[in-house]
C-alpha cells in the first residue's frame, strides 16, 4: 500500500484561467526519497500545499495513508501525517526558544508534557541541534533554522515530510547541512521524504525524480536516467549542474564514464 497516492489531480487558483496543476499522477511508498524538480511557476509548490490540505484539488483524488484529502473531518489527521517544511526559515519558527519551537506542533496535538520533553530531545538529536535547547531562535544560522524546522516536524512523527525548497534561501554551508540532514533521516531513520527543489544536485540523492513543467509531470524515473536528458532539462529552465555538463561533454567526445551525479563521483571516475 502506498503512503501517498495522487490520481489525475487538477487544481486551479481562484481567478486564473490556466490550471496550476494538470493531470498529476504520483505515488510515494513508505521509506522512499522522492524529489520533485521544476523551474519557477511549474506548480511544484502548489503540489506541496495539496499534500498537506492547505489546498484541495478541483479534480482527482489525493490519498494520504488511504484518507482522501477531500474528507474535511480528517484534515488534522492528514496534517499530522504529512509534515511540511517551507522555504523561508524565518517565517515558520513560532517560538523564541529552540525547544519551545520544536514543542509547538506537539502542544497542538495535545501530547502529554513528559512525552513532549522526550520527543523534543530526540528530534533535536536527529537534526544535530542537541545543546541548543535554550538558545534563541533568531540567533541561529539559516541552516540551523531550517534544521530546527525539520526537528519541529519529525517530533510530530509524521509518516512523511514534504520539504518545499528548503534550501532556496540558504548559503552553501546551510544548504549542505540541510541536505545531509534530510539524507540521514531517510537513509538511517527510514523517514519518507518528498523534496521539492530546483537544484538538480539536491535531487540527485533521491530514489526517484519527477520533473514538473507548466503544471504537469513531464518526466520521471531514477535520477541517473532523468538527468541524462540535459538538453530537455535546460529547455524547461532548469540549471544543469556543472558536473553533469562536464560528464556529458566527455561522454559525447567518446570517453567511457559511468552515470555521474556528484563532484566526488566525477573525481572517482577520472582519477
Amino acid at each position: 500500500m502506498s503512503l501517498l497516492e495522487l490520481e489525475n489531480v487538477e487544481f486551479k487558483y481562484h481567478g486564473q484561467t490556466e490550471p496550476a496543476l494538470k493531470d498529476i499522477n504520483l505515488t510515494v511508498d513508505k521509506g522512499e526519497f522522492v524529489a520533485i524538480i521544476g523551474a519557477n511557476g511549474s506548480g511544484k509548490s502548489t503540489l506541496a500545499k495539496l499534500l498537506n490540505v492547505l489546498l484541495r484539488p478541483d479534480k482527482g483524488d489525493i490519498l494520504v495513508e488511504n484518507i482522501n484529502t477531500k474528507n474535511k473531518k480528517q484534515i488534522w489527521e492528514i496534517r499530522k501525517n504529512v509534515g511540511m517544511v517551507f522555504q523561508n526559515p524565518d517565517n515558520q519558527i513560532v517560538a523564541t526558544m529552540v525547544e519551545d519551537d520544536v514543542a509547538f506542533g506537539l502542544e497542538n496535538i495535545a501530547v502529554p508534557s513528559e512525552e513532549i520533553r522526550e520527543r523534543v530531545d530526540h528530534a533535536l538529536e536527529l537534526v544535530g541541534l542537541t545543546g541548543y535547547e535554550t538558545h534563541e531562535t533568531h540567533k541561529l544560522s539559516g541552516g540551523q533554522k531550517q534544521r530546527l524546522a525539520i526537528a519541529g516536524i519529525i517530533a510530530m512523527e509524521p509518516s512523511c515530510i514534504v520539504l518545499d525548497e528548503p534550501t532556496a534561501m540558504l548559503d552553501p554551508q546551510g544548504r549542505k547541512e540541510v541536505i545531509e540532514t534530510i539524507d540521514f533521516l531517510n537513509k538511517e531513520k527510514d523517514i519518507t521524504i518528498i523534496l521539492i527543489t530546483h537544484f538538480m544536485e539536491e535531487a540527485s540523492i533521491a530514489d526517484k525524480v519527477y520533473v514538473m513543467n507548466k503544471g504537469k509531470i513531464e518526466s520521471q524515473g531514477p535520477p541517473a536516467e532523468v538527468f541524462e536528458e540535459i538538453d530537455y532539462l535546460r529547455s524547461i529552465n532548469l540549471d544543469v549542474p556543472a558536473v553533469m555538463e562536464v560528464a556529458n561533454g566527455l561522454k559525447s567526445k567518446g570517453m567511457k564514464i559511468p552515470e555521474i551525479l556528484t563532484i566526488d563521483g566525477l573525481v572517482d571516475a577520472l582519477c
Binding site: 524565518d90 502542544e107 497542538n108 513532549i116 516536524i153
Partner: protein, 263 residues
C-alpha cells in the same frame, strides 16, 4: 546594531526571585501595588522602599539598571511635584513673591505623590527585570484562564504575545536592511525638521509593512500545517508548578501589604 537590543529589560539570573513562579510574581505585584495606594504617610513608603531594596539585593540586580528604569518618568515626577507645590493650598506659607506662593501642604503632597510614583515604577520594573518575557506571557495566560468562560481568548492572546516577541528581532533586522537599501538609493533619514523626517520614513515603513504581512501569511500556513487550531485544548512543554517557596513569597507579600496599609 538594532538587533542587539534585548527585548524587555530582563536580566538573566538564577536567584530565588528569578525562579519564583511567574503567576505568583504577577499576583504579588498586583497586591503590593494596590497596597501602595493605601499607604497614608512616609513611614509606609520607607518600609516599602526597604522591601524593594531587599528584593533587589537578593535578586542580584545591578542597582544602576533599576535606577535607569526610572529615567523615563523623571519628567512626570517633576511635573507632579511642581504642580502640587504651586497649586495645592493649605498649611503655613513658606515662601511668597508677588503672586507665587508656596504652602507647606503643597510641598508635602508633592513629595508624597512623587514617592508613590517612583516606588510604583521601581517595583513593577522588578517584575520585568527578573521574569523573562516568555514566562510573563505564560503567566498572563494562566491568570486570564478563568476569563475564558466569559469569552476572553486567553490562549490566543498569549500566542499573539509570543509571536510578537519572536518577530521583534526579525523585523528589526529587516528594517535595518531596508534602511540601508533605501539609503543606497539616496533616501535621507537624518536631516530636515520633524515633519520632514516623518515623511522620509515612508520609504522605510511601506516595504516593512508589506513584508510583515507576507510573513504573517506564511507563518499562518506553517502554523496550520503544524496542526495549530486556535484555542483548542493544547498541552505544554513547560508545566508551571507552585511549590512551598512560591506560597511563602505570596504570604510574605500579603503580610507586607496589610502592614503598610495601616500607615
Amino acid at each position: 546594531m538594532l538587533t542587539d537590543i534585548t527585548i524587555g529589560q530582563y536580566v538573566h539570573g538564577d536567584s530565588v526571585v528569578h525562579v519564583l513562579d511567574p503567576r505568583i510574581k504577577i499576583i504579588i505585584t498586583i497586591i503590593l501595588i494596590t497596597s501602595l495606594f493605601l499607604i497614608g504617610n512616609f513611614w509606609g513608603f520607607a518600609i516599602f522602599l526597604s522591601f524593594n531594596l531587599v528584593v533587589i539585593k537578593i535578586s542580584n540586580l545591578p542597582f544602576k539598571k533599576v535606577l535607569k528604569g526610572l529615567k523615563p518618568i523623571v519628567f512626570l515626577v517633576l511635573l507632579t511635584v511642581i504642580l502640587h507645590i504651586f497649586m495645592t493650598r493649605g498649611g503655613e506659607v513658606l515662601f511668597q513673591w508677588k503672586f507665587i506662593r508656596i504652602e507647606s501642604e503643597g510641598l508635602y503632597t508633592g513629595t508624597f505623590m512623587a514617592s508613590r510614583i517612583l516606588l510604583l515604577i521601581m517595583f513593577t520594573s522588578l517584575l520585568t527585570l527578573t521574569t523573562s518575557p516568555l514566562q510573563l506571557t505564560d503567566g498572563i495566560e494562566y491568570i486570564l484562564k478563568p476569563l475564558k468562560k466569559i469569552g476572553v481568548p486567553a490562549s490566543e492572546i498569549s500566542m499573539m504575545m509570543t509571536i510578537a516577541l519572536r518577530f521583534i528581532p526579525t523585523l528589526m533586522e529587516e528594517a535595518e536592511k531596508i534602511m540601508k537599501a533605501q539609503k543606497a538609493r539616496g533616501a535621507d533619514f537624518e536631516s530636515g525638521n520633524l515633519i520632514q523626517r516623518a515623511k522620509n520614513l515612508i520609504p522605510l515603513l511601506v516595504p516593512l509593512f508589506i513584508s510583515a504581512f507576507r510573513r504573517a501569511d506564511e507563518l499562518a500556513l506553517a502554523m496550520e500545517s503544524r496542526c495549530y487550531q486556535g484555542g483548542k485544548k493544547r498541552t505544554r512543554l513547560h508545566i508551571m508548578n507552585i511549590n512551598r517557596r512560591d506560597i511563602t513569597a505570596l504570604i510574605l507579600a500579603i503580610a507586607l501589604a496589610v502592614v503598610v496599609s495601616f500607615f
